[in-house]
Symmetry: C2
Subunit: 206 residues, 2 copies
Amino acid sequence: MGKGEATRERILEIAEAAVLAKGFGATSIDEVIAEAGLTKSGFFYHFKDKNALAREMLRRYVKTNDQLFDDIFARGRQLSDDPLQAFLISLKLLAEVMADLPNGHPGCLIASVCYQERLFDREVRELTAQSVRDWNARFRHILDGIAAVHPPREPIDLDDLADMMSCIVDGAIIMSKTLNDPSRLERQILIFRSCVKLIFSAPSLS
Amino acid sequence: MGKGEATRERILEIAEAAVLAKGFGATSIDEVIAEAGLTKSGFFYHFKDKNALAREMLRRYVKTNDQLFDDIFARGRQLSDDPLQAFLISLKLLAEVMADLPNGHPGCLIASVCYQERLFDREVRELTAQSVRDWNARFRHILDGIAAVHPPREPIDLDDLADMMSCIVDGAIIMSKTLNDPSRLERQILIFRSCVKLIFSAPSLS
DNA sequence: CAGAAACTGTACTTGCGGTACGGTTTTGAC
DNA sequence: GTCAAAACCGTACCGCAAGTACAGTTTCTG
C-alpha cells in the first residue's frame, strides 16, 4: 500500500465521522484536512471534489457494513441448522452488536445522502440505491430459505418483509439519534425479531 | 391575518418543499426568496436567520402531521368499536393516503434535521425530539387500548411496538426516496399492519 | 539516481449566510 | 384623511467554504 492510499484512508475515516455527526453539508473540507494534517492542495490531489469524497466514503461504508452482516449471518447459520432459528440468532447478535457500539450506531450514510439528494451527482445516488437493493436481496434470500421450511401463516409478501428489515434499522437509527437514546436501535431489532418469529412459527388458524 | 403572516406562510411552504427535496444545507435563501418574490431584506425581516426558518418549518410540519394522524385515527374509531379493528382500519387508511400522494411522501423533516444536527441550535433539536416523543406516546396509548381487550400472545413491549410505527414510516420514506419508488411506504405500513394483527389476534399456543 | 507520486504555498473566483442601514410602500386603527 | 407601525426594497459589505490554477518541493520507489 502506497503512502497515498494511507492518506486517502485517513481522510475517509475522518470525513465519515464528521459527516455522520453533522451531515455532509455541514462538514467542511478545511476541517477535515486540518484533522488529517494536510493542505487543501493535498486534499484535491486525492479527491477531485466533494462528490468524489462522498462516493469513496459510500463505497467504504457499504463494504464495511456488508462485511459485518456477512459475519453475523454466517455465525447464525453456524449455530443452527434451521434457517428460522439461524436468522433469529443472527438478529439477536445484531442487536447486541448495535447495543455495544459505545455511542450508539454512528448513523446510516445512505440516509444521510438521501436527505441531501441534490448535493450529490447521479453516480453517488445510484450507488446508494444499489446498496439498498443488495441489502434487500440479501434478506429476501434468507427469508426464502425460512419460508421453504416454515410456510408463513398469513399471506406475507417476503419482498416487503425483507424491506422491513432495512426500514426498521434506518428508522431506529434516526430515532436513536433524535432522542439521544442508543438503546432504541437494539430494541427495534429485537421487536422485529419477535415479528419474524410470530410470522414463521405461529400455528395455523384452525 | 396580516399580510406579513401570509408572506411567512408562503416562505415556509416554499422552503419546506425545497428542504424535503434537497436537504436543509442545499437549500439557499436566495432560491427561496426568488420563488417567493421578495428580497433578502424582506426575508430577514421575517426570520432572523436560517435557524429561525427551520424552527418555524418544524412547528408547521409537526402541526400538519398531527392533524393528519388525528383525522385518520379518529376515522378508524368511527368505523369500529373494537380498538384493534379500529387501529387496523386506520393503518389501511394511512397506507392509502400515503400511496395517493402524487410523488410519494415528501419526506420526513425530522429525519432531515436528524442528519444535519450541528446545523441547528438546541431549540430546534429539542423540538424534533419532543415531536417524536409525542408521536410515540400517541401510538402507545392506542396500543394500550388494544392490549386491554386483546392481550398479546408473546410478551411484547408496547413502548417498543409504538416506537416501531415511527421507525417503519421514517425508514420506508428513506427507502422510497432512495429507490425512487413511492409504493414502498404504502407496503411497509401494510406489513406493519400485518404484524400488529398477528401480535394481537394470534391464538395462544396450546 | 531518476522519475513518479505525494504533497505544499499562494493567489484567486464564486456562492452563500448574514449584517447594516437608510429609504419606500402598504396597511390598519382612529 | 392622517399617521404610525408593519412590511418591505436596495445597496453595500463581511466572512467562510468550495473549488481552480499552477508552480514549486519533498518523499517514495524501482
